[in-house]
């Protein structure tokens, strides 16, 4: 039985939210540190490193908002995750069609996984009688 939307006891919803919070802390802490280290090692300008840091922080805030929305059962958050999954599917399908041999298999396998995840989130989003938080 699929979990109800907004049901914070569901492992599926917890997994989605956990991915968001892992991405949030990684982007907030390790993203800027990695960008600065890469800038020092590769000799890129400080401006580019700072721009990457700012991008990481903005992305972290967005991911945090989505994670919070998932935990509290907001439909918009699920829709955002859905769109991201479909976008990733489309990207990998395009990559599979544009490449040959093992890279095509590589991209197609990821496209299949992202498509299944997208369908799963669609079910969570439109589930009839879903609980509102």
């Amino acid at each position: 039985m699929l979990p109800k939307r907004g049901d914070a006891k569901s492992p599926a919803i917890i997994a989605l939210a956990l991915a968001c919070y892992l991405a949030f802390w990684s982007l907030l802490i390790w993203g800027p540190i990695g960008a600065l280290i890469a800038a020092v090692l590769t000799g890129h300008s400080v401006a580019i490193a700072l721009a990457v840091c700012a991008g990481c922080v903005i992305a972290a805030v967005l991911v945090r908002v989505v994670g919070h929305g998932i935990l509290w059962g907001h439909r918009v958050a699920y829709a955002v995750v859905c769109l991201l999954m479909f976008a990733a599917t489309a990207f990998h399908v395009w990559r599979a069609l544009a490449s040959t041999s093992s890279t095509a298999i590589f991209a197609a396998s990821r496209a299949a996984v992202f498509f299944c995840l997208a369908l799963f989130v669609v079910v969570l989003t439109v589930r009839k009688g879903a609980a509102s938080a």
Partner: protein
């Protein structure tokens, strides 16, 4: 608890021995493979420590022994699959080589059968691992009576912040 872990480690040695044989396991390089198995258990405890620390930081009174038990119960069923798929990457011995391997895995591949299998299984394993970790969070919040949302934030914080430090220290 110690007896259970000893049995689990012994079983993992036996189970992974056959996989190691296909990677050129001999009596001469046995230490390398023993150290890899030890590294896997060190990684397991590092993740548990990170989750435990995150819960403590968020004011949730986690008991380390019980958290380790719950994590073991949830993770052990998927661990053999994760190990088998991770074996090619585990053969790398240094951080730059491992990062290089990860980068090449995400960009280009050779045409060997092993690379194909790894490429197809890897996203499935990542998705499964995420859902298994979700089950771990649910069990933790249910066992201790913590709020599930707060538990997610705490474990997300602990694992994301502490695990990379542990990994870098180990390497």
């Amino acid at each position: 608890m110690l007896k259970r872990w000893l049995v689990a480690i012994a079983l993992s040695f036996v189970a992974t021995l056959f996989a190691y044989l296909t990677y050129g396991f001999t009596a001469r390089n046995v230490i390398i493979y023993v150290s890899l198995v030890v590294a896997q258990y060190a990684a397991l405890f590092a993740v548990v420590c990170a989750a435990h620390w995150g819960l403590r930081v968020y004011g949730l009174r986690s008991k380390f022994r019980e958290t380790v038990n719950i994590y073991g119960i949830v993770v052990i069923p998927i661990a053999p699959l994760l190990t088998l798929v991770s074996l090619p990457g585990l053969q790398r011995t240094s951080l730059p080589e491992t990062l290089s391997e990860l980068y090449s895995r995400f960009s280009t591949l050779d045409d060997t059968a092993l690379s194909m299998v790894v490429a197809v299984l890897h996203p499935l394993v990542v998705a499964m691992a995420l859902f298994v970790f979700g089950a771990f969070v649910v069990r933790i919040s249910g066992h201790y009576g913590f709020d599930a949302r707060r538990t997610v934030r705490a474990i997300g914080f602990g694992v994301a912040v502490l695990t990379p430090i542990a990994a870098l220290t180990f390497w």
